[in-house]
């Protein structure tokens, strides 16, 4: 009974997402210049990064500031594996696997750390990764970066890469929704709502947290691969440690833990300011203030607003874990 409702809604959502992706793929190249197409491509990569952040931060409630590091590790691993002679699919899997492994290595010892300690630990990690990318010239060619990466031969072809990215992001989006609506999603929400109560019903929260870290890292690595495919060249400054705050801001304003929020947040942070270049500082100053306002008064973010507008249109509530509903204000 309830299980059927979930699958039905899932199917509808899948159709909706795929339709939207196809629509974007068809319409965007018509209306956007080459420059803005590239911005759209980068926006899609950012969506992927924030979707990844959703797992550990939005679902798990753990403050990880390492997403930019996994972005960088995925990109460089993909590049270096290709130059070691591996075909693209193998290099891609290798890069994701490496990101995931690093995610586990970081996640496991940091289990005991809370709040600001974890934030600092992951931030320190991000800084270390960036410094290694810059200084380990033997491996990464240092600050000059690596150019002429073969990939799938679409580097710089923004319109064709758009299709690739749309497909990847649609898949990643649906995967997140599928996880969030399944039994795993319930365990994740239990962890988020009350870790002690979750343990009391048998959830191994340590394992769950590590799993979330690993999935976040994998998404980050995948984003790195996409970036390499898009650009054909990489340099460490794309993966600066300061950039991690941008992904956090996107996630918050969009709505923590919401896949739709990841999309909205990334678009608002990456695409919209390009349309408003003349007032960019004002835009980002306002964005910073938005972060404060959202986290204080509207924790479900913009996606929460959008979804409650649509709620009236739905005949019946989805019975199961809706990952876009997060509750920050809790009774003691």
């Amino acid at each position: 009974m309830a299980a059927d409702a979930s699958t039905l809604t899932m199917r509808t959502l899948a159709i909706l997402v795929i339709a939207t992706a196809i629509l974007c793929g068809l319409l965007l190249p018509r209306f956007l210049s080459v420059y803005y197409l590239q911005v759209a491509d980068v926006t899609l990569i950012n969506i992927l990064l924030v979707l990844g952040l959703n797992f550990i931060l939005g679902f798990g409630g753990q403050m990880s500031l390492a997403q930019c590091a996994f972005f960088g590790i995925g990109a460089y691993a993909f590049t270096l594996l290709q130059s070691a002679g591996m075909p693209v699919p193998v290099a891609a899997i290798g890069a994701i696997a490496l990101s995931a492994a690093v995610g586990m290595a970081l996640g496991w010892p940091t289990l005991r750390l809370k709040g600001h300690y974890l934030a600092l630990c992951t931030l320190a990690f991000a800084l270390i990764v960036e410094r290694l990318l810059v200084n380990w010239e033997g491996l990464t060619n240092g600050a000059n970066g690596i150019t002429a990466i073969p990939g799938i031969g679409l580097a710089g072809e923004n319109d064709k890469m758009l299709w690739v990215l749309l497909a990847v992001v649609a898949g990643a989006y649906l995967l997140q929704v599928w996880i969030a609506n399944g039994p795993l999603g319930l365990r994740i929400r239990a962890l988020r709502d009350d870790p002690l109560a979750a343990q009391a019903v048998g959830v191994d929260i340590s394992r769950l947290k590590i799993m979330l870290f690993v999935i976040s890292a994998a998404y980050g690595g995948l984003a790195g691969i996409c970036y390499v495919l898009l650009r054909g060249y990489i340099s460490p400054d794309v993966f600066s440690w300061q950039s991690t705050f941008s992904y956090l801001a996107m996630a918050v304003v969009g709505g923590l833990g919401s896949p739709l929020g990841a999309v909205l947040g990334a678009i608002l942070y990456t695409f919209v300011p390009e349309l408003l270049r003349f007032m960019q500082e004002y835009y980002f100053a306002v964005f910073g203030v938005m972060v404060i306002l959202v986290i204080t008064f509207l924790p479900t973010g913009l996606s929460g607003l959008v979804l409650s507008a649509f709620r009236g249109l739905r005949r019946r509530e989805k019975s199961y874990a809706r990952s876009d509903v997060t509750h920050h204000e809790r009774a003691a």
Binding site: A3, P183, R189, D193, D194, A198, A200, D204
Partner: protein, 498 residues
């Protein structure tokens, strides 16, 4: 009769504090076993050790024949040991059904939702009586239903042993009856239940066997009837009768005041979210009078004081020297002549004794400080040699004295005290009470909240008894001491508290 749960010599220390001392306890399969004891006796610590949240310093725990002493909470849950929490811990972002479903995860398919499981979830929801609200968000449930959901989550584990941590907190009569029924049904289905509870009516009705804790040790064990008659238990809750007489002889009775009302509380009601902790309480304290406010744990005594001191939201009226307090912020009260010595003292541990005293006189002119401090050191001589010591390094008794001195620094007309005897050995309690009488004789009115009823009544002028948030007895101290409702409020026989 085999023991499902067995504790042997369990001791738990937190730094210098021994919360549990050599506890041995055996819970037989298929029984309802209750753990009771005065405030601070270690009941919650005991539960936390059994459910794997704390690791005992010494001793061991066996469940269903297996040693489980350092197993973490989630593993115990998988083994069939479920627990509820005193402050209900629900998954606030989920509906009732989702809460139970989340709790079923150990018994259901990890990737799909299956029908069998869904059916079981429905059964559990029906069983606790939440079928009407199955799709309501857990965060919006009233207290009675929250408690039922808390139990439903435990049942989802198909447990053999259920630990219920004060499941009746904040419930009204009807809700309590329903909860008792649910627990009985659970028992009928073969579950073993271990229960911490303050509501004596509930404990006496439900329990097959009771263990009484006091100061971290097992004080007594037996059937409900045995426990109610047990002198040691009565003493633990109400205080020793002979010491009471001794104190009375030594110290005499406190002043009766001038008869002019100083504090007038009318229809005070305190709500925490959905729970009514204090229900239309009216009491008063005259100028210079010594009044005791008594009652068991959870009766609402602390909440009453907190409401008077404006640390908790309340409706009703609180007048102090004719002035309505309910609109004043807490920080104004000291200036008006009202000082509170909070539960567990709440000294500023990182400040010295002298600094704590100075803080007590925060609003007063600097020139007075030296004189006030000197007065306090005369009144509490053993603080003198501790002047430069940090407050956290003082012993329990010294800390209590300091807390009272700190409150007196502001020269209050009314001194409120919240369970000053908590955690103190009986000899120290007597010392504290003597001091309070001395202070009272110098003209300060006192409203004393105490669990240790006999001691308090041996020196106070008048008393009130609270039970489940209502006043059930009042009168002169001697009258209240003889009133059977006093015993009933603590140990559940005598007239019901309604």
């Amino acid at each position: 009769m085999n023991a499902l749960l067995e504790l042997t010599g369990v001791t738990k220390r937190f730094g210098g504090l021994t919360a549990l001392d050599g506890i041995s306890l055996s819970v037989a399969q298929g029984t309802i076993h209750a753990v009771i004891g005065p405030n601070g006796s270690g009941k919650t610590t005991l539960f936390n050790i059994i459910s794997g949240i704390y690791v005992p310093t010494e001793g061991g725990v066996r469940f269903a024949g297996a040693a489980v002493t350092s197993k973490p909470l989630h593993q115990l849950a998988a083994m069939g040991l479920a627990r509820t929490f005193q402050n209900t811990r629900l998954f606030a972002s989920m509906t009732v059904r989702q809460n139970v479903l989340a709790a079923r995860h150990g018994r259901s398919h990890p990737w799909r939702f299956d029908q069998e499981n869904a059916r079981r979830v429905e059964e559990i929801i029906q069983f606790v009586g939440l079928a009407d609200v199955a799709d309501t968000s857990a965060a919006s449930l009233p207290q009675g239903q929250r408690r039922l959901l808390e139990i439903a989550k435990a049942l989802a584990l198909e447990p053999r042993l259920v630990l219920l941590d004060e499941p009746h907190g904040g419930l009204n009569h009807a809700e309590t009856a329903r909860l008792i029924e649910v627990i009985r049904q659970m028992h009928a289905r073969g579950m073993t239940i271990l229960l911490i509870e303050h509501e004596m009516e509930v404990v006496m009705t439900l329990a097959d066997r009771i263990t009484v804790l006091n100061f971290g040790k097992v004080l007594a064990e037996g059937s409900p009837a045995d426990i109610q008659r047990n002198e040691a238990v009565i003493e633990a809750y109400l205080g020793r009768a002979d010491r009471e007489a001794e104190l009375h002889t030594q110290v005499g009775r406190a002043a009766e005041g001038t008869g002019v009302p100083l504090l007038e509380v009318a229809d005070l009601t305190v709500r925490y979210g959905d729970i009514e902790a204090v229900r239309k309480v009216s009491l008063n304290v005259g100028t210079g009078e010594f009044v005791a406010l008594l009652g068991n744990n959870g009766a609402g005594k602390s909440s009453t004081l907190k409401a008077i001191a404006r640390l908790a939201q309340a409706s009703g009226s609180v007048r102090f020297a004719g002035h309505e307090l309910t609109k004043e912020p807490t920080e104004r009260l000291v200036g008006m002549g009202l000082a509170l010595v909070p539960e567990r003292r709440r000294l500023f541990g990182g400040l010295t004794v002298i600094e704590n005293l100075k803080i007590g006189a925060y609003g007063r002119p600097q020139s007075e400080l030296a004189r006030l401090i000197e007065e306090m050191l005369e009144l509490f001589p053993n603080l003198r040699r501790l002047s430069a010591s940090l407050a956290f390094s003082l012993s329990g008794g010294e800390q209590q004295m300091l807390a009272i001195a700190r409150a007196l620094m502001s020269r209050p007309r009314l001194l409120l005290l919240d369970e000053p005897s908590l955690g103190l050995a009986p000899l120290l309690v007597e010392q504290v009470f003597s001091k309070l009488v001395e202070v009272n004789r110098q003209g300060t009115a006192i409203l004393l909240v105490e669990q240790n009823a006999r001691m308090a009544l041996s020196v106070a002028h008048r008393g009130y008894v609270l039970s489940s948030g209502r006043i059930v007895a009042e009168g002169s101290a001697a009258e209240v001491a003889r009133d059977p409702r006093l015993m009933g409020a603590y140990l559940g026989h005598g007239e019901a508290a309604e």
